[in-house]
Amino acid sequence: MIEISVEDVKSLVKQERSIEEELQRAKEEAANIVEKANAEAKRILEGFEDGRYCRSMLEIELKKIEEKKKAVEKEWNDAVEKLKKMAGENMEKAVALVVKLVLGE
C-alpha cells in the first residue's frame, strides 16, 4: 500500500502535463521534419516530372545540331564560292573551247 499525499498528486499531474506538452512538441518537430523532406523531394523531382528535363536536354542537342547544320551549309557555300572563283579564272579558256567546238576542231 503506497501512501500518496495531495502534494504528490499535484506534482504528478504537473509532470503529466509537462510530458504531454513535450510529446506534442516532438510530434510538431516530427511533422516539420516530414514537411521539409517533402519539400526536398519536390525540389529533387522539379523539372523531371513535368518534362522540363527532357525539353532542356533536347534543346541542348538541337543547338548542337544547328551548329552541325551551319557547318554543313558553310561547307557547301565554300564549295560554291570555289566554283565561282574557278569559273572566273577559267572562263576565257572555256569560251575558247566552245568556240573551237562550234567552229569545228
Binding site: 536536354m57 552541325k68 569559273a87 577559267n90
Partner: protein
Amino acid sequence: MESLKSQLNLLKEVQVKEILEEAKDQAAKLVKEARTKAEQIKSREGEEAIQKSREIEEKELESAIAQGRRKETDIRFQLVDVALGKSLDKLRELADRQDPVYVNAIEGLVVEAVVEIAGTEFEIMLNPRDVALVKRKLERIEKRVSTIKGASAKLKISNAPLRSIGGTMVRSKDGKQIFNNTLEARLAKVRQEMLPRVCDALLSGASD
C-alpha cells in the same frame, strides 16, 4: 514517488525518441524515393531525348546536304550558261568582223552540211554578211563535196537571207532535206553533247 516520476520521464523520452526517429526515417524514405524517381526519369527521358535528337539530326543534316548539293548543281549550270552565253557573243563577234578563224571555218561548215544531205544539187542559205565570202570559196567547196560524195555536186547560194549569227543551213534542191549547221545550232549541239567537256574546262581546271 521519485521512482515513479523517474519512470514517467524515461517513458516520455523513449516516446519522443520514437516519434522523431520515425519522422526521420519517413523523411529519408521520401527523399530517397524522389532521388530514385528522378534518376529513372533522367535515364528514360535522357535516352528519349538523345534518340529524338538523333532522328532530328539525321533529317536536318540530310536536308542541309541535299540543299547544298542542289545549290552547287544550280551554280554549275548557271556558270556553264554564262560560258555558253559568252561563247555565243564571241562567235557573233568573230563572224561579224570576218575573223580568219571564222573565215576558215565557214567552208568546213558548208561542206559538212552538204555531205549530210543526199543528192547532188543543193541550196546554201547564209547570213547576207557571209554571201560574198562563201561565193569566193564556192568552187573549192563543190570540189571537196564531190570528192567526198563521189559524184559531181552543184551548189547554189540562196537569195533568202538566213537569220543567224553565222554558219549555214543547206537544203536539197527539192527542199525535202535540210541540214541546220548555223552557229546557234552547233552551239546547242555542244550544250547537248559536250557539256561535260565544257564543264570540265570551266570548273575543274582541266585544259583543252
